[in-house]
């Protein structure tokens, strides 16, 4: 029996211990959601235990490219980020908001009383934890709270993983969202080898309690240092960066920059970036009724500012050109977001770069605008009066 552990302390967990820890979580009533190989990618799905994890897999990511690749070791978390974040668990892609029934006096509305499952996130990365915090600001901290998001966010157990390598498109270091996760987790694991084990940083008391039950022992200073070195190496090897100096004003004053024309020639308006992005929050509503016309439902679904419908007004779209839609997305993500929510909307996960079919790289786009700050395509529209 070990002494009660406290947040901030470090433990060591064996491979078997991690397996036990996951089963303990299940016995505690949590539904495990973690990485697993499916359809040629590492996705987040409900998993039953350690055997589902992508042991020995990594991925090669570049702008517009993603391939799984075998590793020479059996690392369980030897990849970076897959196409999905944790967004779809809290801000779900399709949700019925309410059902309405026609009555004599008009109609009645009933809301679904769904009880969302208690989720345990396994393998959450620093960028994605920051993304959850960013989405919390949108859905929980404004004048209106999204009740479904709030319900799903309650009592989530987080087992984070400190990244052992920088992904091909990652740039969390320059966004100050990683690679080391410092908050938002119950436990943070760093995978170490020879022997294959996990250094564990305790984030919360319940994390400590669970680690204790799984047989974690206090970590020696060698393991703590080894774990720290892993993350430092990840930071050093990060290939991309976004220069965020004064980025809000930079984007605000370059709305007529010729770079927008340039990217518009490449962008397909496919919306992949918004689907892959862990912080994008646009949603649309659909009102449907049955054939009798007596029952109607309202559904919420994910939406994207890249669609023409998104800005539909008075018979046309305000943002009809791809140029204006790309400008809207990027300016919102790295500039307007700051005015709206007090942080950047970008966490440097690199997914938009990887999953863009034509390989548009937002770090490159911002750098290009910065390089010719103030350049204009076409005339200024503002009057001289």
């Amino acid at each position: 029996m070990i002494a009660p552990l406290k947040p901030g302390e470090h433990l060591v967990l064996s491979l078997g211990g991690l397996g036990d820890l996951l089963q303990q979580l299940r016995r505690d009533g949590y539904q495990l959601v973690g990485p697993t190989v499916r359809d040629g990618a590492i996705v987040h799905a409900e998993i039953s235990g350690i055997e589902a994890l992508p042991a020995g897999w990594t991925e090669v990511q570049e702008a517009g490219a993603y391939r799984l690749k075998r590793r020479s070791d059996g690392a369980l978390f030897g990849y970076s980020v897959g196409p999905q974040s944790w967004k779809q668990l809290f801000f779900v892609p399709r949700l019925r908001l309410w059902t309405a029934h026609r009555t004599e006096g008009g109609f009645t509305v009933e809301k679904d009383e769904a009880a969302p499952p208690r989720l345990a996130l396994i393998g959450a990365r620093s960028c994605d934890l920051h993304a959850i915090e960013v989405q919390d600001r949108t859905f929980l901290q404004g004048p209106s709270v999204d009740p479904d998001y709030a319900a799903r966010r309650r009592d989530v157990f987080v087992v984070a993983v400190q990244c052992g390598q920088a992904g091909g498109t990652c740039f969390c270091a320059s966004m100050k969202t990683g690679p080391r996760a410092t908050s938002g987790f119950d436990l943070a694991l760093t995978e170490l080898f020879e022997p294959h084990r996990f250094e564990v940083e305790i984030g919360t008391e319940r994390g400590a309690e669970l680690a204790g039950r799984a047989g974690a022992a206090p970590a020696g200073s060698a393991d703590v240092e080894a774990a720290a070195a892993v993350v430092q190496q990840t930071e050093r090897s990060m290939g991309r960066r976004m220069d965020t100096a004064d980025i809000k004003e930079l984007l605000y004053r370059n709305q007529e920059h010729p770079r927008w024309d340039d990217v518009a020639d490449r962008c397909l308006g496919c919306a992949n970036c918004t689907l892959a992005c862990p912080t994008c929050f646009c949603g649309s509503v659909e009102d449907v009724s049955d054939l009798s016309g007596d029952t109607a439902e309202r559904w919420r679904r994910w939406d994207s500012c890249f669609t023409l419908d998104h800005s539909y007004l008075h018979g046309g779209s305000v943002r009809a050109s791809i140029r204006s839609r790309y400008r809207q997305w990027l300016t919102h993500k790295v500039a307007s977001w700051i005015d709206q929510f007090g942080t950047s909307g970008c966490v440097g996960c690199g997914r938009c770069i990887t999953w863009c079919p034509v390989g548009i790289d937002i770090t490159e786009e911002v750098a290009a605008i910065r390089a010719t700050d103030g350049a204009r395509s076409g005339e200024s529209k503002e009057p001289a009066t």
């Binding site: 209106s144 305000v318 919102h332 709206q340």
Partner: protein
């Protein structure tokens, strides 16, 4: 937030495509001039409609609706006793307090007259708070003019100066022909003590802003009601964004100097 059923108390046709409905809501929610409700037509959908009635009248929400699509068409087809879903009120109001002690210049175009009518009611009820009050109204044709009898009554009353202009006249029209911003030529503007409220098509408001600028009215004394695509009305769905501004919660009434960089951008 779910729509609350509201019964139609009265219905009145304003023009060939516009009706005014008075709705009785179960909960008496006070509103301020410039705010809007989301109106739900069962099974069809929801649209944001400004409240066009007197803010002093409790328990009744008056909306002037123009039929431009499936949902508004369904709403316009309702009659007394019909039921509409209501969510709201939402949005920022016209800052009537800022005009106190000075002149209030209201320029409204088309169905934009509906969101400013509550301001007129307010100004008439507290007339001594303001110096001169101008209501400049533009419409496509005389048949499209809203609240014609009320406009004539206000003109006769003399408490405010009402100037009306139509883009194209019909035979027998004795009033002015021309665009709404041109009516500003007949308004003496005391740039140091006047406030302008603009409401109508964005192009019309652009011309008004230009003209007001020429006449020396400072940018921070001009307020506009902006519109964008709206779905949730509570700042969560992302549709109504206008730069960093959410029209549903930071607007729809916005001060011109604060949106000036956006106002002249295309496709924003």
């Amino acid at each position: 937030m779910v729509p609350e059923p509201a019964r139609v108390l009265s219905w009145r046709r304003e023009s060939h495509d516009t009706v005014t409905l008075a709705l009785e809501t179960a909960t008496r929610r006070p509103f301020r001039p410039g705010q809007f409700n989301m109106l739900y037509a069962f099974g069809a959908g929801e649209v944001p409609i400004s409240i066009s009635g007197d803010p002093a009248t409790a328990g009744v929400a008056v909306h002037t609706v123009r039929s431009v699509g499936a949902v508004t068409e369904a709403i316009c087809r309702l009659r007394r006793g019909g039921v509409v879903g209501v969510r709201g009120p939402f949005g920022t109001p016209w800052p009537v307090g800022e005009a106190r002690g000075g002149d209030l210049i209201i320029v409204a175009g088309g169905v934009g007259l509906a969101p400013v009518r509550p301001v007129v009611y307010h100004a008439l009820a507290r007339r001594a708070d303001y110096r001169r009050v101008f209501l400049l109204v533009g419409a496509r044709t005389p048949e499209d003019l809203l609240f014609r009898r009320e406009l004539e009554r206000w003109q006769r009353q003399g408490d405010l100066t009402v100037l009306v202009s139509v883009d194209r006249a019909a035979a027998g029209w004795k009033g002015r022909v021309g665009v709404a911003p041109a009516l500003l030529a007949d308004v003496e503007i005391d740039a140091g003590n006047a406030v302008a409220f603009l409401c109508g098509p964005e192009v019309m408001m652009r011309f008004c802003v230009r003209e007001l600028g020429r006449r020396g009215l400072p940018d921070e004394r001009i307020h506009l009601s902006m519109e964008r695509n709206m779905k949730c009305a509570v700042g969560l769905c992302g549709h109504c964004q206008y730069g960093p501004t959410f029209i549903c919660k930071d607007g729809p009434v916005l001060r011109y100097d604060r949106i000036r960089p956006l106002f002249w951008l295309r496709e924003i």
